[in-house]
């Protein structure tokens, strides 16, 4: 579904990604794990056209993503749930959701959008209870749910999530991740960036480990959960470089 070859991205003159090759198959949950600054978010931003990059990204067969505007990508079926949620705080839950379907607004689509709202409420019943509440007054977990729900309103085939567990209580994290599994079963392909590697590996099918802009390891989530170096570097209390000298 998504194929990335030799991806390079820079912040100024600093390389954030130096030659990343990876892929996401249809129907998979793939997670990128790695320490702060490893390049995880940059990778998502590159896919969405939010940073300049070099290399090759193809989507859904052979559609190249080079040079496409972020809004084009939404039409192609790629939605991102950004880190820190970036909701429209003064607006209500309902308004936020409506904006998620912004590019689809038209008379003919009204029925389809209503249908999607129904689906979103089924996934997140709590949002339906708070439709008129201002997004900024929701709890952290609810805000994250809203951010995902808003992205779903664009009917993505590929959902990119950046640190959905950030700042949330463990139980809420479990809820959010369970929702991702559910979405995957409903046919949404998911690329998940997480610092909470253990939680991410529990829901993902496969994972890539990024370290300073390069992939150093990949495998099934189950295998990586048992990998001793991954355990030490990303599942323990303190972050250490995976390739830390011996």
């Amino acid at each position: 579904m998504l194929k990335i070859r030799n991806l390079y991205a820079y912040y100024g003159s600093l390389p954030a990604l130096s030659g990343v090759t990876c892929h996401v198959r249809e129907g998979e949950i793939v997670t990128l794990i790695g320490a702060n600054g490893a390049g995880k978010t940059t990778l998502l931003n590159a896919i969405c056209g939010l940073v300049r990059w070099q290399g090759e990204i193809t989507y859904s067969g052979r559609t190249p993503l080079k040079g496409r505007a972020p809004e084009d990508l939404v039409s192609l079926g790629i939605s991102q749930v950004p880190e820190g949620r970036q909701l429209f705080a003064p607006m209500t839950v309902a308004e936020n959701l409506e904006l998620g379907a912004y590019h689809r607004q038209s008379r003919t689509n009204r029925g389809a959008i209503a249908l999607d709202l129904g689906r979103v409420y089924r996934l997140f019943p709590r949002l339906q209870e708070r439709l008129q509440q201002k997004a900024g007054t929701l709890s952290g977990g609810e805000q994250q749910m809203l951010a995902i729900a808003r992205a779903l309103m664009a009917r993505p085939r590929l959902l990119l999530l950046d640190e959905p567990s950030l700042g949330l209580a463990p139980l809420v994290v479990e809820d959010i991740l369970a929702t991702l599994s559910q979405l995957c079963k409903e046919g949404v392909t998911i690329l998940l960036v997480e610092q909470n590697a253990r939680a991410a590996l529990k829901v993902a099918h496969r994972a890539y480990v990024l370290e300073t802009g390069r992939i150093i390891l990949s495998g099934t989530a189950q295998d990586l959960l048992q990998d001793r170096q991954v355990t030490r570097a990303y599942l323990g209390k303190d972050y250490k470089e995976f390739t830390e000298g011996r």
Binding site: R5, G19, H23, E211, I216, S218, G219, Q226, T243
Partner: protein, 414 residues
């Protein structure tokens, strides 16, 4: 097929998978193994040099000598505390080759062995009997573990005489025999001697490993036992036994390209040969963690068969191994380097390097190494007993160190 999602993967997707695994293997090797870092930096290459699979030809080779020079742990890419298995084997120099495996490497090999057995038509319901000499300890251990992992009932390799092995085979209703081509031929001669007919056995298949299997030997064994023969390719001393495996069509062995990247090069120039041409097999690991090997020179001469296989697997096939490009030779599947042999003989003779000749001969199907040692002044004794003792000691020394069956003849010069 055990893993059709990989074994019959679309070639384009497979190549992307290989590229991403190659790049991450190189990143790990570069960052964690000084040897590889120096090798690349010495050529002015960075990790950016590999953007396509074919760029692999820019990387330097790794040889058995490199492994010996980094004795013992120099090429390990993970800390020792993450290593769960350490293997060593005689190399081409005085220092042995030492290879490490992390837990997930061991798991990978089990999966590849299960893939190999499945392709050979072996399943849970089978009774698998291993008849492999102690000199093939790596094959023994791995093939046993792989068959157990698959869920078959396994009779591990024992040190029984061959008549006993055949009795076990008959009475325990062995359905799959795992052995070397040379031992399989030997078993046929023993059956002949015992007047044991193949119809008395429940044998359906044989998996013949550790040595090349020429077509006529395969036919002889298939006809003799009235079974189907499968084969596999491996380099157990540095990687493992499940590198490549035969399918029901028996046109070469499918290379597990999702985990190992094969190339064929001209051993003299080091350049890639034309597709389909004969040359030296060079292998790069794509998935192993503890011991990444970049462009390891196998020494085996073979070709890659690119045409699609009727079995549906898209994994490239390796044609028959038609010998070695180096001086290493095989005695019943055990690899021996001439330098090693000379070194061991010199040890027996108290530091004196003898002039000698050797040849691998077959006797009742069994491979024996015949060594003629010239009796020069340093060795000569007029006591027959002393000379006999010398021959015996040399024989035992080779058995102890290499696990090979040798026959020593002392020859008077003149």
């Amino acid at each position: 097929m055990r893993q059709p999602e990989f074994e019959a993967m679309d070639r384009e997707e497979l190549e992307l998978l290989q590229l991403e695994r190659l790049q991450s293997t190189l990143t790990r090797a570069f960052r964690q193994v000084k040897f590889y870092r120096r090798q690349l930096e010495g050529l002015g290459l960075g990790l950016d040099a590999i953007r396509e699979l074919k760029d692999i030809s820019r990387l330097p080779f790794t040889t058995r000598e490199d492994l010996s020079e980094n004795y013992p742990y120099g090429l390990f890419a993970v800390p020792l505390r993450d290593i769960v298995r350490i293997l060593s084997s005689p190399g081409t120099t005085e220092k042995p080759l030492v290879v490490g495996y992390a837990a997930q490497d061991v798991k990978l090999w089990l999966e590849l062995l299960a893939r190999l057995y499945t392709a050979a038509g072996v399943g849970r319901e089978d009774i698998v009997q291993l008849i492999l000499p102690p000199g093939l300890a790596n094959w023994r251990r791995d093939l046993q573990a792989g068959a157990e992992y698959l869920g078959a009932s396994v009779i591990p390799a024992a040190t029984l005489n061959f008549a006993k092995e055949l009795m076990v085979m008959r009475d325990y209703k062995t359905s799959v025999l795992v052995t070397t081509p040379s031992l399989a031929r030997h078993l046929l001669t023993v059956m002949d001697r015992l007047n044991l007919s193949p119809v008395e056995l429940s044998l359906k298949k044989a998996l013949l490993v550790a040595a090349p299997l020429p077509g006529e030997v395969r036919q002889e064994i298939e006809a003799g036992f009235q079974i189907k023969v499968a084969t596999a390719y491996g380099i157990t001393e540095v990687m493992g036994p499940g590198l490549a495996f035969s399918c029901e069509f028996n046109q070469g062995v499918h290379f597990s390209e999702d985990h190992f990247y094969p190339e064929i090069i001209d051993p003299d120039t080091g350049l890639s040969v034309w597709p389909g041409e004969l040359g030296e097999l060079v292998i790069t690991t794509l998935s192993t963690v503890a011991f990444p090997l970049v462009r390891f020179r196998s020494g085996d001469r073979a070709r890659l068969l690119q045409e699609p296989c009727a079995c549906g697997r898209t994994l490239v096939r390796l044609g028959e191994i038609s010998g070695r490009v180096d001086a290493i030779f095989s005695v019943g599947g055990i690899k021996v380097h001439p330098d090693q042999l000379k070194l061991l003989l010199t040890e027996v003779l108290g530091g004196h390097a003898p002039s000698c000749r050797w040849q691998v001969n077959t006797e009742d199907g069994l491979e024996v190494l015949d060594i003629d040692i010239n009796l020069d002044e340093a060795i000569f004794s007029d006591e027959v007993k002393a000379l006999e003792g010398l021959g015996r000691r040399a024989r035992r020394h080779l058995q102890d160190h290499l696990g090979i069956n040798a026959r020593i003849t002392l020859k008077e010069v003149g």
